[in-house]
């Protein structure tokens, strides 16, 4: 359903102590949008992503997921969610993929993938297993379903983590540097899965240093700098003549690859 706003973030601020990391960030993602978040290390990309599913609590601002606003209250001058139950519900609608995979190490790959649907969504187990096996097939690790995470390569673990997130049928997928912890030869297999996901129409917000992904897969690029959005736009404009001086300098560090 193009035209439906899946995620809307208004004027998010976040401070750690005296250090203001996010200085008012806004962003909308419509159905099927694939947005790459770029920026130098320390510019606040991860913090921004983690504020969206409340792994960090923004100091100020508004978040809507599929039209539902996350209700916040001020208590002793601290911003915090009004209802933990609503937070858990919103989180179940947002798929999160971490840099370090974070698969549950005491469960097999299949158990990892059905855990959320069975125990959070309380859906029938047999149904979840069938869906999980189809997902594992899709990300290319069906043969590993009874293995434990520690016995998989990083690339396989990250694909399993993507399947785990997808099993929740999320409205939006959030990726926090999904390929940064991988050996270079394993990056491609994860990017291919993400590209297929984008082509399926999944709404995605991707913090990445992979310029080829930002340029060729996403339909919007947002460049963050020192806690604000420096510039944003279609990849062709951003990587073409429309680039801001700061963005031009930033991609210069990547040696003009691609």
């Amino acid at each position: 359903m193009p035209g439906v706003t899946r995620l809307s973030v208004r004027n998010i601020r976040k401070s750690f102590g005296d250090h203001e990391v996010l200085k008012g960030i806004s962003l909308d993602a419509e159905d099927g949008d694939v947005i790459s978040l770029l920026g130098a290390s320390g510019s606040g990309k991860s913090t921004f992503l983690r504020c969206i599913n409340l792994l960090e609590t923004a100091s100020d601002g508004e978040i809507f997921v599929d039209g539902e606003q996350i209700r916040m209250v001020k208590k002793n001058g601290q911003n915090r969610p009004e209802s933990q139950k609503q937070v858990d519900h919103i989180r179940s609608e947002l798929g999160m993929v971490f840099q370090s995979f974070n698969l549950w190490s005491h469960m097999t790959i299949l158990q990892n993938v059905i855990e959320g649907p069975v125990h959070v969504l309380k859906r029938p187990k047999a149904e979840c297993i069938a869906e999980a096996e189809a997902l594992l097939e899709k990300v290319g690790i069906a043969d590993k379903r009874h293995a434990y995470p520690a016995h998989l390569s990083g690339g396989q673990q990250q694909r399993a983590a993507i399947a785990r997130a997808l099993a929740m049928k999320p409205k939006v997928m959030l990726f926090d540097e999904p390929t940064s912890a991988l050996d270079p030869e394993l990056v491609g297999e994860v990017l291919r899965v993400m590209r297929a996901l984008a082509e399926d129409g999944m709404t995605m917000l991707v913090v990445t240093h992979e310029m080829s992904f930002a340029r060729n897969v996403s339909n919007r690029v947002v460049f963050m700098r020192q806690g604000v959005v420096d510039s944003s736009g279609a990849p062709d404009d951003m990587f073409g003549s429309g680039a801001s001086p700061a963005f031009r300098q930033f991609i210069g560090h990547f040696g003009g690859e691609q």
Binding site: L55, I90, W104, H106, M107, V120, A161
Partner: protein, 241 residues
């Protein structure tokens, strides 16, 4: 009397009593371990809570009960508890001494000590859980209880098994001290047998052998549990990250 007859199951043999005593030691140790598991979980939770008062109380518990001699704790609970019960009895008009049941008092005392060691085992096990896995549980929408049940508890158990094996051995040995309450466990029965037959050497060696049998048997059980739990751990040659 022949050694075999003394240790046998005949009329003059101590075999049956020693067997029962061994089972008694096993029972009182298992009970103490369970009491210690409950106390240890509570104390570990307090120490991990981040609340200054609770952390302080938890530290006092583990410091005191690991630092004070075990025998003193047993005396305190058995004799102290008994005189408290006697005082209450007198107040209710009952004359005479009221003793605490020796099994319960002994298991409680050793359980309290075991709990101070188990608290440290559970705390260490919790801290060994990768923070990212807890975050992934929150991110998928698990509430605190579900996260505790599905991610925290199984992993705490997995990481705690080797430490619990040690605590079990320790608790098994501490249980010998319960003999001072008159409970007919292995230590006490060996003592009585040795004293009444004047075969000190024989019965203390047999007692020691029975303790060794118990520890080596339970060692094997814990090793098997550890191997099972380690199926999900990285194999040396495989895996990465």
């Amino acid at each position: 009397m022949a050694t075999l007859e003394l240790l046998g199951f005949g009329q003059n043999g101590w075999g049956a009593l020693l067997l029962v005593a061994t089972l008694m030691t096993l029972a009182v140790t298992a009970t103490a371990l369970l009491i210690g598991a409950v106390l240890g979980t509570v104390v570990a939770t307090a120490k991990l809570s981040g609340n200054m008062l609770l952390v302080g109380l938890g530290n006092v518990y583990t410091t005191v009960f690991r630092g004070v001699p075990e025998l003193l704790i047993i005396y305190l609970i058995y004799f102290g508890g008994s005189s408290a019960v006697t005082a209450v009895g007198q107040w209710l008009g009952y004359e005479g001494f009221l003793g605490l049941p020796s099994f319960a008092a002994g298991a409680l005392a050793v359980g309290i000590i075991s709990g101070s060691y188990q608290a440290e085992v559970y705390r260490g096990a919790y801290l060994a859980i990768a923070k990212g896995e807890l975050e992934a549980a929150s991110a998928i929408g698990m509430n605190r209880m579900l996260r505790l049940r599905r991610v925290v508890m199984p992993q705490v158990l997995r990481y705690a098994i080797p430490g619990l094996g040690n605590v079990w051995q320790l608790t098994l040995k501490d249980s010998a001290l319960i003999s001072v309450t008159g409970l007919a466990e292995l230590m006490r029965t060996s003592q009585v047998a040795a004293g009444s037959t004047r075969q000190y050497f024989l019965f203390y060696i047999v007692g020691g052998v029975l303790y060794l049998l118990l520890t080596s048997f339970s060692d094997r059980l814990f090793n098997r549990a550890e191997r099972r739990a380690n199926r999900s751990m990285p194999a040396a040659a495989m895996g990465q990250a």
